[in-house]
């Protein structure tokens, strides 16, 4: 199929385009007008459409001849307003262009941050409750991703498209060697919250493969999938493995989750006592945000495994080697992704 990929030159997008090409799809890469593309190794294998999702008039032309839209673009930096405009207004404009261009298939790349982590107990699955009543206590990224899903879902509910939503965990790989859930750096120390908890890691190449599997599978339409690698990695181990390979001698300090959340709750109560409901605290001391980053749960990956039809080709050890080892297997390399992607064809495809 011919796929329009928004955010094609982003950290995940580069791997997704590689995987799509390896599976024999045609790709139109939607990149922003000022973005560099000459460093992308698949640059000569795709068609580029330059547009910014915030400007709706640039988008309808991108839909010509497209079978499916793979919507990866979102801002991970900037203030709350900028993140909202990039992710949510961008999605509004994109779905409007899809409606105009008659494109009826969409895969939205959301995030596990959309869950209400205060209510996730034990196991996270696609049926876990989504953030609703406490949404505006969360950070700008979570607010933007939750609203992005709402906009896409409304579009699908109107019968305008067949929607699949994927919610990756913490995406890592060469070029992104640390993840938000691992803890906080403080001088020579790494404060590791909930050291025995499991991180919701997904390596960029594994994640890209799962994203494309979900796009290809007929059975995935109308469904949501958490994308988390099947290897269960504890936070303590992750920080140790990463530090050993990148940062030399740093000191890991284990802080039990219950201590961290206890401090956050205490800080929050003190703030409320002193300042009322308007009091402001750093994100680490806001209980809902702390829970979303560090709450130790297990992950049920059965749904994405069923959609993919195969386990990821890359084990955690493979991922470490590809991320920190020598050689050209980084985010801009199509060869590495192509080889891994080729081994992971889904069983159920359109």
């Amino acid at each position: 199929m011919k796929v329009l990929v928004s955010g094609a030159n982003g950290f995940l997008g580069r791997h997704v385009v590689s995987t799509l090409l390896a599976r024999g799809h045609e790709v139109r890469a939607l990149v922003r007008p000022a973005s560099r593309t000459d460093h992308l190794q698949w640059a000569d294998k795709v068609e580029f459409h330059r547009a910014d999702l915030r400007q709706k008039q640039q988008l309808p032309a991108a839909m010509d001849g497209i079978d499916a839209v793979l919507h990866l673009a979102a801002a991970v930096a900037g203030d709350e307003n900028q993140q909202f405009v990039h992710a949510v207004v961008g999605t509004e404009n994109l779905v409007a262009a899809m409606a105009e261009g008659g494109v009826r298939r969409m895969l939205l790349c959301s995030s596990c941050s959309v869950y209400d982590w205060s209510k996730v107990n034990g196991v996270l699955s696609e049926d876990s409750p989504l953030e609703e009543s406490g949404l505006y206590d969360r950070d700008g990224y979570a607010i933007a991703k939750r609203w992005q899903e709402r906009v896409a879902q409304r579009f699908a509910d109107m019968g305008e498209c067949r929607l699949t939503v994927v919610r990756p965990g913490l995406i890592w790989g060469r070029g992104r060697e640390s993840v938000p859930g691992e803890g906080v750096s403080c001088g020579p120390f790494d404060l590791v919250f909930g050291p025995m908890g499991r991180l919701r890691l997904t390596h960029a190449e594994n994640c890209a493969s799962d994203v494309v599997n979900a796009l290809e599978a007929d059975t995935a339409e109308g469904h949501r999938y958490n994308i988390i690698d099947r290897d269960s990695i504890r936070t303590w181990r992750w920080v140790g493995e990463r530090n050993r390979r990148t940062q030399g001698r740093r000191i890991r300090v284990p802080i039990p989750y219950c201590v961290g959340i206890g401090v956050a709750i205490l800080a929050s109560m003190t703030s409320r006592l002193l300042f009322g409901p308007n009091g402001k605290l750093p994100g680490l001391f806001v209980p809902r945000r702390f829970q979303a980053r560090f709450k130790p749960v297990r992950y049920n990956t059965a749904a994405i495994e069923r959609a993919s039809g195969a386990h990821p080709a890359l084990s955690f050890e493979d991922c470490l080697a590809r991320t920190f080892g020598e050689g050209d297997s980084g985010a801009d390399s199509p060869s590495g992704s192509l080889s891994s992607a080729a081994t992971r064809k889904p069983l159920s495809t359109s």
């Binding site: 007008p33 000022a34 910014d52 915030r54 307003n81 909202f84 509004e92 505006y136 300042f275 308007n278």
Partner: protein, 384 residues
Amino acid sequence: MVPAQSTPVSASFNPRKPMIQSDSQERNGTADGTRILRAAVIGAGAIAREHMKCLAERSDVEVVAVCDLSAASGQAAAERYGVHRSFTHHSELLKEARPDVVHVATPPQSHFAIARDALLAGCHVIVEKPVTVSYEDAAQLLELARERELILVEDQNYLFNGSIQRIFELLNSGEFGEVISVEVSICLDIISGGRFSDTNVPHPTLAMPGGAIFDFLPHLASLAWGFVGRHHAVATSWEKKDPATPLPYDEFRALVRAERGTASLSFSAHTQPDVFWVRVNGTKMRASANMFEPRLTLDRVRTGLRPLIPLFNGLKEARDVRRAAIGGLWRKLAGGPGAYEGLWRLVGQTYDAIQGQAPVPVSLAQVDDVSRLVQDLTATENRL
């Protein structure tokens, strides 16, 4: 504050005509007899949220609707602040939600049309700065507000910050003496990134006279006006120091001769670190206010042993700085208006004025003078 320039509401202001006020709304009111005012916020961006946060603190205001071109942005703002209705076009909002007061918090190019329609619908208007892009448009709005006896207030928020209000108090009490000059200086790195330097979607202000710096001129102009009054003459320097930036200008200086003194105004995108200084020089006192922090230091003429005067000055300044540092941290933790304290005070006083309890905080003449100064600061004939 600036009370000398304000129009006493009891003298000039008639409570709004009941043309969009239903009988049931007329009966609604608070325990102290003031009526509940129906507010609408047009625009749902960062500054609009400050307006809504501030309105949520008032018991005599109900925000009845919010509007944004992006339906999701409007709905998110409505959900967040408990507003029942959101619209994607301001004219539908005016027709269906029938507000008493409209807050215009959209990009500057849209201010004129929205504020005009709101005034024509019989609403009081609080509009973000700049009130309009051109002085001619501002003059039209002011005329419309006069004709219809409605309030039109531009958000000249820094005039209402605590530090500036304190200087006005000292001026009014006579402790400050007379103002000789004011220096207003903004140093802000808007070329290394951020919304003004976005090369994918050019910021709307880049199309205005002066480019991105235009966005800051109302702050410079309103502070100059507050301390030295209406201007008589202006000389400016506009430069583009960094050829790579999409901004047409990144350095600006101006000297303004006004009815009560002179003003030196500047904006620098290169000078670091970021700061926003207001220095007011009087015949008895000198005040320095850092607007990015709640810091105000006052130097006054002292009597006594001359060799000890530097010591007393140093101790006083150290105390002011220490108090400001602690106050700044407290302000951050307390939430509330933070750096937007002036906006909250201005909006609060505007609603008090609509309720007939206070003068209008920013008179039409003040909006006119500041708009005229902004126009002259950008005029090519005033450039050196």
